[in-house]
């Protein structure tokens, strides 16, 4: 591998280098490879700071840096949240854009690489198959402008098809109608190739490359194996997501494993009326663990919650399971006096779903008797 691969792990050549190193993500996790910790950091900083660059640049070897990219992709896939994938891809792109700018801006106008780890603009364009559709503009007035020291001297021309494919919803200035389009090419400033603000054709090209194939389409077995192998970093990231915790994938109703605060709500609901916040906390939890309207209505049959109320709420919550109306975290619930850290359960996890997921994972599959598959009561 080359230092360049560590800096730009999404390049095709870097993917090959990963393959040559021959390390699988479970193996890396099992051996405690630093790539796993760095992979977690990649995702964490993507979610919290919008960058995937390391907080301490000198800490990681090129190899750990390179291998942390596939680890991060697995982690972000396991989070099962669309928003997390988006944020992650955007952060990788923003990080790359800053590095492009660093590498390309130089006395040689970015035509040559200055170190092993840096890239030239032609190399970047080549990477994204843009060599034929992006060219430096040569105008009669260019030399005159150059000597004047004006900063807007660098103009490029981009094929209109590529321009349309690689621009996002970035405001009026990017609309084709407001652009200088001539002979099938759009004029753009060099800075618009790799804009610092996430707006730029190459930023978008990186974002698409990173987002491609994410989240991985993992079968149940593979997902479970990876979740076990990456348990620690994954829990940390899930905790981090907090309110927006990923809940996709839970489909198990085992009341004996319910977090204490939810369990208490359920018990109370059997004898007293819940207020709106309390019933939302309970019903959103039930929807998030896989109960549909029928199931929830049956589950709540012994409570003071009306059947219509239950059905309506669960249907609405279930439509966007976890995405739109995730159950509140323990911290939020504590503000309403619902969660009082019963049995110190918040030491394990600060979110009812995260805790519930962990307890599920700790339970032998044979002992996971789903409430929905219970024997009908003998009468």
């Amino acid at each position: 591998m080359q230092p360049l691969h560590a800096r730009y792990p999404f390049f095709d050549a870097a993917r090959e280098a990963v393959g040559e190193l021959g390390a699988s993500v479970p193996e890396l996790a099992a051996s405690g490879d630093p790539a796993v910790e760095r992979g977690r950091e990649r995702v964490e900083r993507a979610l919290t700071e919008g960058t995937t660059a390391p907080a301490e640049p000198g800490r990681w070897s090129d190899e750990a840096e390179l291998l942390s990219y596939p680890v991060a992709r697995v982690l972000v896939s396991l989070l099962s949240e669309e928003k997390a994938v988006e944020k992650y891809a955007t952060a990788e792109a923003a990080t790359a854009a800053a590095r492009f700018a660093e590498d390309v801006t130089g006395d040689d106008d970015g035509l040559r690489s200055t170190t092993d780890a840096s890239v030239s603009l032609p190399r970047i364009l080549d990477e994204f198959d843009l060599a034929d559709s992006v060219r430096e503009e040569r105008l009669a007035g260019a030399d005159r402008n150059r000597s004047s020291g004006a900063t807007d001297r660098d103009w490029y021309r981009v094929g209109v098809e590529q321009y349309l494919l690689l621009t996002g919803d970035w405001g009026e200035g990017w609309r084709l109608v407001n652009r200088e389009l001539a002979d099938g090419e759009v004029r753009i400033r060099r800075g618009e190739l790799y804009g610092a603000d996430g707006e730029g054709l190459l930023v978008e090209a990186v974002r698409r490359r990173v987002a491609e194939g994410l989240p991985f389409d993992l079968g149940d077995d593979r997902r479970t194996a990876l979740e076990e192998a990456l348990d620690d970093p994954l829990s940390a990231l899930r905790d981090l997501l907090g309110e927006r915790v990923a809940v996709g994938g839970i489909d198990a109703v085992l009341p004996s494993l319910f977090p204490e605060c939810i369990d208490e709500l359920l018990t109370r609901a059997e004898s007293e009326e819940l207020d709106d916040t309390e019933s939302f906390a309970l019903l959103s939890f039930l929807a998030a663990i896989g109960l549909d309207a029928d199931g929830a209505a049956a589950f709540c049959a012994e409570t003071t919650l009306g059947e219509r109320q239950v059905r309506y709420a669960v249907e609405r919550l279930g439509e966007n399971r976890g995405a739109q109306y995730p159950p509140p975290s323990c911290e939020t619930l504590s503000a309403y006096g619902i969660c009082t850290n019963q049995n110190g359960h918040r030491e394990r996890a600060d979110h009812p779903l995260v805790l519930y997921r962990e307890r599920l994972r700790e339970t032998e599959p044979a002992e996971r008797v789903d409430w929905r598959e219970r024997e009908p009561a003998q009468s």
Partner: protein, 391 residues
């Protein structure tokens, strides 16, 4: 439409297809095919989701299918699919689509449908087509080889752009193209930018392309005309614009005289605020005269069916006629759109809706049974203005 009329049209459409020259699109096996048959009921039912295999298997069989079925209208998809015969759009597997533009007299600004004749509408549409082609060639850089220009057989023209680089554009990207061609959301103030030159700044038109370049061309031409005039006429010309009085007109003329090169370079500083007013006015003129009022959904809907060039339009009997770029100036849809198959013989029709007609030698039709050129008869019957009469 009476049975006799429908049977006649269907039979003659079939005859037409016996030796019709169809313009079959590239990759026909990835297209969805559709048609509207001549049915007894009044309603029109589109038969769609057909694959090439359903049509007979190869490009040649399309003509055979049309000869056999003699449909009223025939279509294909601008899109290419993995499985074009699937009933559900989601199952088809979209692989890309040609970029298609539709100019229809229904959507032309300044054309009153109730007032204008068919010929007038088509003529206005052809002007719009010329503007569209100018934009596609000059701004978008498409070569004639990329463009298939087609008379729709009805009230307008289609342009198919076939360029592999465009296939993947999604609906949003195509809307960007539409908005460009129509100058929708054009930021007029943004046509001028501030440029620094050796420590000072000045305002310049964006001459490098786009609507800025078009406005600049208009300005250069206008200024050249001004210089041909004597001072009084030039002043009158300028003061006719809003916001330009004698003083500003004088400043503009002075700048034009002293530094003609500045305006050629796009510099709009020299003429003062008056010149910028002039640019605003010319911008409005350019938008009015150079935009192409294409029908947006046809371009942005990447799953739409479009008429197959070379087939007949069931609402007129005209050929959906491809036009070579060099022939466009001389193209007369009401003459060149007529199928040769329907020329050279006369038929009996019973005119039920008399009045002006733009097709054939007659300018107006009398009511009742009469003998007409076959293509005039086909036109009248297809439009529902006549029924077939016994010979």
């Amino acid at each position: 439409m009476e049975d006799r009329t429908r049977n006649y049209l269907r039979g003659r459409f079939g005859d037409y297809y016996a030796d019709a020259e169809l313009s079959v699109p590239p990759v026909p096996d990835a297209r969805e095919w559709g048609h509207i048959p001549y049915t007894e009921s009044a309603g029109t039912t589109m038969v769609r989701h057909r694959s090439l295999l359903d049509m007979g298997g190869d490009a040649k069989s399309i003509r055979e299918f049309l000869e056999r079925e003699a449909p009223r209208h025939a279509y294909f998809s601008a899109a290419r699919y993995d499985d074009p015969g699937a009933r559900q759009m989601a199952e088809k597997g979209w692989r890309g689509a040609d970029l298609v533009f539709d100019l229809d007299a229904d959507h032309l600004p300044g054309v009153d449908e109730d007032e204008a004749s068919y010929a007038e509408m088509l003529s206005a549409c052809k002007d719009a087509l010329q503007r569209l082609l100018d934009l596609l060639r000059d701004d978008f850089g498409f070569a004639n080889d990329d463009l298939l220009i087609v008379f729709s057989g009805g009230r307008g023209y289609h342009v198919h752009v076939r360029n592999d680089a465009l296939l993947e554009l999604d609906s949003e990207a195509r809307r960007e193209v539409v908005d460009y061609l129509r100058a929708v959301d054009l930021d007029r103030d943004d046509l001028i930018r501030t440029v620094s030159h050796g420590g000072t700044t000045r305002r310049e038109l964006k001459t490098g392309g786009g609507w800025g370049r078009r406005v600049h061309r208009e300005l250069v031409e206008f200024v050249a005309e001004l210089r041909e005039m004597d001072e009084d006429d030039a002043t009158d010309e300028l003061t006719a614009f809003d916001g330009i009085g004698d003083g500003r007109a004088g400043t503009i003329l002075d700048a034009v005289e002293r530094n003609p090169g500045a305006i050629r370079d796009g510099n709009v500083e020299a003429g003062g605020p008056g010149l910028r007013k002039l640019v605003e006015a010319l911008t409005a003129r350019v938008i009015q005269n150079e935009t192409a009022p294409i029908d947006e959904p046809v371009t942005t809907d990447v799953r739409r069916l479009i008429r197959l060039p070379g087939t007949l339009h069931g609402g007129t009997g005209f050929v959906v006629k491809p036009i070579a770029p060099d022939d466009l100036d001389a193209f007369d849809p009401l003459e060149d759109g007529v199928a040769d198959r329907f020329r050279g013989q006369r038929i009996m029709v019973n005119v039920t809706e008399p009045g002006p007609v733009d097709v054939g030698a007659e300018t107006a039709m009398d009511p009742g049974p009469q003998s007409v050129e076959e293509y005039v008869g086909v036109f009248l019957m297809a439009r529902g203005r006549a029924e077939k009469a016994t010979e």
